[in-house]
């Protein structure tokens, strides 16, 4: 079951990554503008999806009922039983509206999660600035024998190996402290018991797509870190992660970018609902 789910996630990641290429302009657009554009487009796309995955007639009917009850409260405000009944009907209608949104919400969750994973690579983390240090952590399968180092980080012009490898046997991890030198995307090479493994590193300023971890063959990790191919289940190396700094602006960063994106996409959806004839 888990293996099937992982295969599905990896396959869908391939699709999402292909689509993710369209997000390349994010790299050269101002951060706020690109996130706004993405949010507006997402809002409209979601709106269309909502239209086709929901029972629009039923939603329209409930909406009319809601409007009627709101107006009844205004028109017959002198009549307490009528207004109380209208308020009760309003609450019931609100619940029905929520119920009618469950299916489209569930259907949209799937593409939306993959989209969020793609966007997170751009807006959640910043690349490592030139001259800054970071920690690279490699997670192994099986035990680490303390007698000899089993893993090596091969030298690369883009980084300087400051210290490492440091093995943490209890966590099955090996760490390096490195300093970034050359801006751009680079592929770091690792060697473990004769096998070579790769991990991408992003160095520079501004907005770059950042993949903080090459994941293991686990559906959940694959979902969170979609850009790099997960390691095989039998691989000695299970995951390699790089500590990236978090973005720090009022619309980007761990918490704020998703809130901004959500609000703008929601506003765009509501703003365009009349244009596309969608009942929300």
């Amino acid at each position: 079951m888990t293996s099937t789910l992982t295969t599905i996630v990896i396959t869908l990641n391939a699709v999402a990554n292909a689509f993710g290429q369209c997000l390349a302009p994010i790299g050269w657009l101002p951060e706020g503008l690109s996130l706004t554009l993405v949010a507006v487009v997402t809002g409209i796309a979601t709106l269309k999806m909502f239209k086709y995955t929901s029972n629009q007639r039923a939603i329209a009917r409930v909406r009319r009922e809601i409007r009627a009850n709101l107006l009844a409260i205004k028109l017959f405000k002198e009549n307490l039983p009528v207004t109380l009944a209208a308020q009760r009907k309003l609450l019931v209608a609100a619940l029905r509206l929520l119920g009618l949104a469950v299916v489209p919400m569930a259907v949209m969750t799937v593409p939306m999660v993959f989209l969020l994973a793609q966007l997170a690579q751009w807006y959640q983390w910043a690349p490592i600035p030139v001259g800054d240090d970071t920690v690279i952590t490699l997670r192994l399968a099986g035990e680490i024998r303390p007698s000899r180092p089993v893993v090596k980080l091969l030298p690369h012009d883009a980084i300087e190996d400051l210290s490492g490898p440091v093995s943490i046997a209890s966590l099955q991890q090996v760490c390096w402290n490195v300093r970034a030198h050359q801006p751009g995307y680079h592929s770091l090479q690792f060697e473990a018991e004769g096998e070579r493994y790769e991990k991408q590193i992003a160095i520079g300023d501004g907005v770059m797509r950042v993949s903080p971890q090459r994941p293991s063959r686990d559906w959940y990790e694959a979902l969170l870190y979609p850009w790099e191919k997960p390691f095989d289940a039998q691989s000695r190396v299970q995951a390699i992660s790089i500590e990236y700094p978090e973005r720090d602006s009022w619309i980007a960063g761990t918490d704020s970018w998703i809130a901004y994106w959500f609000i703008v996409s929601l506003v765009a959806g509501f703003a365009f609902r009349g244009v596309f004839g969608v009942h929300l």
């Binding site: 028109l75 569930a106 949209m108 969750t109 939306m112 999660v113 989209l115 959500f262």
Partner: protein, 698 residues
């Protein structure tokens, strides 16, 4: 496929359960759902809190500032169910035959009496008298139409719609500043305005001559004289590939369309372009794709509707656009009449959309919107049933009948909602489908009618009786809803009905008797176009009377006011009283009334000088009603419009049922307003002409 969807849904839900940032899936989809529902819940809770907090203030306000009625109301609620045109004679007959069990029960519990109508006994006059408790000389409604004093052209008697006075011109565009002015021409004050002063809640539904809706304490939906989107009193459209030889139909227009393969394109015609008069009317295109003999798809705007031959669509929203945000909204229904060999599609007059009303069709303005949201769209046109469609042979009997049924169903829904929402106060609702059906189906009821076919369609042999039975059932449902609620229920009609076999061309009679001069070559033109006003002393226009061409009233008047007018009035009345039908020797008029003798009040001068009380079977001819002058005085009425009530009031009394006894000689429609005020314990204003009927007590 279903399994895949289930998988996707499960995956999605599973992901949403996982505890990380991705789990906090707050996409716009979720936002739409939760946001929308939350707003509704918020609105409900907020309104509840606001209501509870403001209730003591509102209560105090009412106690301190409301006028107090000197007497206690005798009933918590008064419900008036108006059944337009239900005839006293027919009701008696059907009651005796045991066909109206609910009305019989009402009679048994309370009373059943003939109800005196107005002079003339036609709906605009009668319902104006009902609501104001005054004679026409005070409320100023004497007919559907009146001649303009400057142009002699007919104009609506009850309402005047004027474009905004000021506008800015920018090249070819004319941007109006403000909204059109809609002016009610009915004078005096409805009794619900008096009740409003005393803080009594009113719900007034579709009472004729309530457009534009006036302010009151309660809610109101206008009726008769509410125009369609084009400003007319109802213009239907027929889209056909067949060339008709019978000219332009009255009350509608024919659009010849081309069929290309299975596709037909047409245009609905709307109001004039509000910004550019040179552009003509606004139009909305539609496409019909024919799918066999019985079916077609109608594409209009962004929506597609299924057309099934012989079946009306639901109300279709139509949006006429000019500028962005400048739109006029209407609703209409389509009826696919034929696809082979010729294509024929009927569209009802485009009604003002109750959800986006372009004119004040209700009070408060949101009341029509409330109703539209509560029960779906509905007919807003004053004369909702398209009688001209049937008269002009565009519709068949059963199509028209269906319109009547549908309109009644809509009306019943809003009426019963009102009964539920108004447990205390006044609730009035008028059903006028009963009037239209009797107009159009009387030929099946009258064996001697000239329009009666040899073979009567089996469905309509008992159309009139069926109508009375249906109204009886409606009364039954109303009684059930009023049961145990301390309600005074009155069921009444504004007039009765009789046959209309022969039309009288009054203008021809005036011409033959030397009172009117018309250019012989222009006889066929409408609206008195060929009349030589410099030599015309009197003319007829509308359904009810004759106007003297008075110097002080009309632009080209030649008869001096005072003695000359009086003398001429008497002379014409005496001559007309002797008029007999050469076909059978029957007298045509029961009474000829002179306005100054039968009306009193400030608007008597606006009335026709002579009001004609026809005998049963006669009425003003179709041509004379629209100001044409033919070459014969008498005409057979061969139209489907075969029953009428534009006769002497004594021929067509209405009905009055009440769930309480009423002790009064000859109750009249005029008496209802003061009676209801009295029931609520409210003083009857002096201007009212009616008397208070003794209701309920022994």
């Amino acid at each position: 496929m279903t399994r895949l969807i289930r998988w996707l849904v499960l995956t999605g839900v599973g992901i949403a359960q996982t505890p990380d940032w991705a789990s906090a899936y707050i996409g716009p989809g979720a936002g739409f759902a939760v946001g929308g529902s939350f707003l509704v819940m918020f609105a409900a809770v907020f309104s509840a809190v606001a209501m509870f907090l403001s209730w003591p203030i509102r209560y105090l306000w009412r106690v301190v500032f409301r006028k107090r009625s000197p007497k206690k109301p005798r009933f918590r609620r008064v419900v008036v169910l108006g059944l337009d045109g239900l005839d006293y004679g027919l009701t008696v007959r059907f009651l005796e035959e045991g066909k109206l069990p609910n009305l019989a029960m009402l009679q048994h519990r309370g009373c059943f009496r003939p109800l005196g109508s107005t002079l003339p006994p036609i709906s605009p006059v009668a319902w104006s008298t009902f609501q104001t408790g005054t004679n026409p000389g005070k409320h100023n409604i004497f007919d559907f139409i009146v001649p303009d004093e400057h142009t002699y052209q007919p104009k609506l008697s009850s309402v005047e719609v004027r474009p905004p006075r000021r506008a800015i011109r920018l090249g070819p565009f004319r941007f109006p500043l403000g909204r059109p002015e809609v002016r009610m021409l009915r004078k005096s004050q409805p009794f619900w305005a008096v009740l409003s002063d005393y803080g009594i809640f009113n719900c007034v539904l579709r009472v004729p001559i309530t457009f534009p809706a006036e302010k009151l304490h309660g809610v109101q939906l206008s009726a008769m004289c509410v125009p369609d989107i084009r400003g007319s009193q109802g213009t239907f459209s027929l889209f056909t590939t067949r060339r008709r030889n019978d000219g332009t139909p009255t009350g509608g227009e024919v659009q010849i369309v081309q069929r290309q393969g299975n596709t037909v394109r047409g245009e609905l015609v709307g109001p004039d372009h509000p910004l550019r008069k040179d552009r003509g009317p606004l139009k909305v295109s539609f496409t019909v794709t024919i799918r066999g003999n019985q079916w077609a798809d109608l594409r209009i705007g962004r929506a597609t509707y299924e057309l099934r031959r012989g079946e009306y669509t639901s109300w279709v929203p139509v949006c006429f656009r000019t500028f962005p945000r400048v739109q006029v909204h209407g609703v209409c229904r389509f009826l696919l009449l034929a696809t082979e060999p010729e294509f024929e599609l009927y569209a009802t007059p485009i009604n003002i959309d109750p959800e986006n009303p372009a004119l004040p069709i209700g009070y408060p303005a949101v009341y029509p919107i409330y109703l539209a949201n509560k029960q779906g769209s509905y007919a807003t046109l004053g004369l909702a049933e398209d009688t001209w469609g049937l008269n002009e042979h565009v519709l068949e009997d059963h199509h028209f009948y269906q319109q009547c049924l549908d309109t009644d169903r809509e009306r019943e829904e809003m009426f019963f909602d009102a009964l539920e929402k108004v447990p205390r106060g006044l609730c009035v609702c008028v059903f006028d489908g009963s009037d239209r059906l009797q107009h159009m189906f009387w030929r099946y009821h009258d064996p001697q009618h000239p329009a009666r076919p040899v073979e009567i369609p089996s469905d309509h042999v008992t159309a009139i009786e069926d109508l009375y039975r249906r109204m009886d059932a409606l009364v039954g449902r109303t009684m059930a809803r009023c049961e145990g609620t301390d309600t005074l229920l009155m069921v009444l009609s504004d007039h009765g009905f009789t046959t209309f076999r022969r039309g009288v061309d009054l203008n021809r009679w005036l011409e033959e008797n030397g009172y009117l001069v018309v250019d012989d070559t222009r006889r066929g033109e409408e609206y008195l176009a060929g009349v030589d006003w410099s030599r015309t002393q009197a003319f007829a226009l509308g359904l009810t009377g004759i106007f003297i061409n008075r110097q002080n009233k009309f632009a080209h008047g030649i008869v001096a006011d005072g003695v000359d007018t009086e003398k001429l009035r008497t002379e014409i009345a005496e001559k007309l009283a002797l008029l007999t039908d050469p076909m059978n020797g029957q007298r045509v008029f029961r009474h000829i009334y002179q306005a100054p003798k039968v009306y009193r009040g400030g608007y008597v001068d606006q009335a026709p000088d002579l009001i004609l009380g026809y005998e049963s079977g006669y009425r003003v001819s179709w041509d004379a009603a629209v100001g044409r002058t033919t070459t014969a005085v008498f005409h057979h009425n061969t139209k489907a419009w075969s029953g009428d009530h534009c006769v002497d009031p004594s021929v067509v009394p209405g009905i009055l049922f009440c769930n309480q006894p009423i002790h009064a000689e000859n109750p009249r429609l005029l008496d209802i307003a003061p009676t209801i005020l009295n029931v609520f314990g409210v003083p009857v204003p002096d201007y009212m002409d009616g008397r208070t009927l003794d209701v309920g007590s022994s």
